[in-house]
Assembly symmetry: C2
Homo-oligomer: 186 residues x 2
DNA sequence: AACTAAAAGCAAATAATTTGCGTTAGCGCG
DNA sequence: CGCGCTAACGCAAATTATTTGCTTTTAGTT
């Protein structure tokens, strides 16, 4: 029912997980989402359906697992010269990625299952990125919002709009940032 | 695939919809969510499964439809004497309802399907409620945030926390409101 | 190298979903 | 008022997905 977090690397369990994840990613990229089924995934990953059912429970949990792992950023926020610009660049990229069809779908997948572990992971990933920005500003002695302020007044409005309303424009994102960093005119 | 919005009241279609919605509500209240299936719902609603499949497509879409209709508020925000207190009372109730197990599940159901119509409905419902508060403050000449500010800095953080993080405490909600209404000390 | 426990494969049984076709109910029209 | 017309429903057979008991494989341990 629950995907193992740390099956020892190289073990059989890890190989199956990798094959299944890869199969899901391939299929999501190449076909209608409604046509992605566990038997098909199993066939592509060269495992039997019952293996998937036993490990993940159902399609939604598998999709949530895959989506959460794809939502983990692999790089630090790029440096642009100022904390403010770092934040702006990061926020715009975050909004773009999450607003895209694939991004929105991954968020949905993560939220669809009742187990909240995957959603919490997304939140933690975002906070990790923001903490880097906060630390950089701190090192330089630049004024900067707290992590909580960034989550509440930049990340949350972006995510709400993506999920419930219209996807935020770059102007919208810039406006949110101006609100938490009013000292710089921009 | 798509639930009819306005089957003429009294028609057969409307009766089936009402019976199915009722069956879903009853079952969600009384049993494990994972055990709620379309054949069971059909049995309880006295329709055949194929009727449900043809009208709603699959379980997720049906649940999303039911959840959206349950998320529509049936009353105006209560009056408390001041615009600020109205807002605070409304926000606390909103946070409570959405944070509850049933509330969280309904939001999840609404977000789970790729059709965004139901999610947009939720956003509209919230904005309708907030517009009432804005209009009241306007009538009285009290200073008050705009609708957009309320959505961005009160509703969005509450919803983000519910979906991705920990459910917000009343203190947290009050803090968010203080931020958009700093003129009153409270 | 044999042992063990966890995970995977296999296949039969069960359950859900799809679909073709006949039937019914509500609606407009004469 | 009654006569079609159409959209929606019921029914049942066919298909597909899911569950489950049992066996086999595998990686780690002694």
């Amino acid at each position: 029912m629950v995907s193992k977090e740390n099956p020892r690397p190289g073990g059989r369990s890890a190989r199956v997980q990798a094959a299944v994840h890869q199969a899901v990613r391939d299929m999501l990229a190449g076909m209608n989402r409604a046509d992605v089924t566990i038997p098909l995934i199993a066939q592509r990953a060269n495992v039997t359906p019952s293996t998937i059912y036993r490990r993940w429970g159902d399609l939604q949990e598998l999709l949530a697992d895959v989506a959460a792992s794809r939502l983990q950023p692999e790089t630090e926020p790029p440096k642009t010269g100022s904390a403010r610009n770092d934040l702006q660049a990061w926020a715009e990229q975050y909004a773009d990625e999450m607003s895209s069809g694939a991004g929105r779908q991954m968020i949905r997948d993560v939220l669809a299952v009742s187990d909240t572990a995957n959603a919490e992971k997304c939140c933690i990933y975002t906070q990790q990125q923001l903490r880097v920005l906060v630390a950089r500003a701190d090192e330089r002695g630049e004024a900067f919002p707290t992590l909580t302020e960034l989550m509440d007044y930049v990340v949350s409005p972006i995510m709400y709009r993506i999920l419930f309303d219209q996807v935020p424009s770059n102007d919208c994102v810039r406006g949110l940032i101006s609100r938490v960093m009013p000292e710089n005119t921009d």
